[in-house]
Homo-oligomer: 197 residues x 2
DNA sequence: GTCTATATCAGGATAGAC
DNA sequence: GTCTATCCTGATATAGAC
């Protein structure tokens, strides 16, 4: 198993994945044809199908890649130095998304598609589960420093708050993608006002 | 302009719209063909195109219809009797959605599609704007009864909180549509814990 | 207004050469 | 592994009869 060949293969897959992401972001998953990805990547149809079985698998790879890094960021932040507060965790979450993606359209499309495609649903399910775990961890760490806000213990407090932090993160993505006049600062200010401090 | 004929026409449009909603909910907008709507409605392609110019217009009509009733519910509730609290407003919002739609998949698909289709984007934009107005109104009414929580006046407090209530509503829909193990009660409990009381 | 039947076309996927 | 060329399915929208 020659090492260089393997690396090359991975590089090709990355190249295709990146081109697909750009294409999907521009026109939406359903509307971008393989021909679009061909153009964007500078490769050919044959090359693409040599690396991904079909369009759906390509989207799954894109999704996996985009979503995967959230955990790492949050996990890292919550284990080094002072545990971030729920609000800071939210900022971390949304900031990371904003950095990786010009806008959140691809994510919204992913969610939509996973509503109807079992394979994608599984991907989303898994990644969301993972984010949930990391997020819960981070919240627990913070509540541990604030026992006054966690009468039933940091664990219970974290579990209770979890859906809200997740939800506010998702909604941020959505509103940014959907609303012409979305104001990120106003949104985060509102979140800061309600989240425990 | 004969009155009965006009009513019939409207009834037909409703029939088609309802069939389309069922079809879209089952397979997703993009994947349902006109043939599916034909089957579901018991009519023919010709009949459908006699009432809607194309598939997109049909989806817009469905969307408009599904989204339109939220305002009325909330507006009604916030003007009769005791103004509902932010939490109660959220319950109203999510409860109404849950009642009208078996699941929120069509809404998620609508959001996704509006990411890329200008006509749908306009529909969403308009309806969200309207919901925002009504929601803001309702929040203002409540803050007016709780001046202790609105140091800068009910208006400012309502404006600040608005994005969070909207966001939590949207995220509820999303998570319900996406997550196998979504727990509505836990979600609302979390929301209740953070929203002002 | 509605039906049947179909023209037309886009796009996913593949075959075979290199 | 990649390219070119192409097959073929499936779906939108329409034409024309009733």
């Amino acid at each position: 198993m020659p090492r260089i060949t393997e690396a090359r293969r991975e590089a090709r897959r990355d190249q295709i994945r990146a081109a697909a992401l750009r294409s999907f972001a521009a026109k939406g998953y359903q509307r971008t044809s393989i021909a679009d990805v061909v153009t964007e990547s500078g490769l050919s149809a044959g090359a693409i199908y040599g690396h991904y079985a079909d369009k759906g698998e390509l989207f799954a790879a894109v999704a996996q890649h985009v979503l995967s890094r959230r955990d790492d960021e949050i996990a890292a932040a919550s284990h080094e130095g002072v545990p971030p507060s729920p609000y800071e965790i939210l900022v971390l979450l949304t900031g990371g998304m904003a950095r990786d993606l010009a806008d959140g359209r691809v994510l919204v499309q992913l969610w939509s598609e996973s509503t109807v495609d079992p394979a994608l649903r599984a991907v989303v399910q898994r990644v969301v589960g993972s984010v949930r775990g990391v997020l819960g961890d981070a919240l627990r760490n913070w509540f541990a420093t604030r026992p006054d806000l966690a009468p039933d213990g940091p664990d219970a407090a974290a579990q209770l708050l979890l859906p809200v932090v997740m939800g506010l993160g998702q909604a941020f993505i959505m509103q940014r993608a959907l609303l012409e006049d979305f104001d990120p600062d106003a949104y985060l200010a509102a979140a800061e006002a309600v989240l425990p401090r």
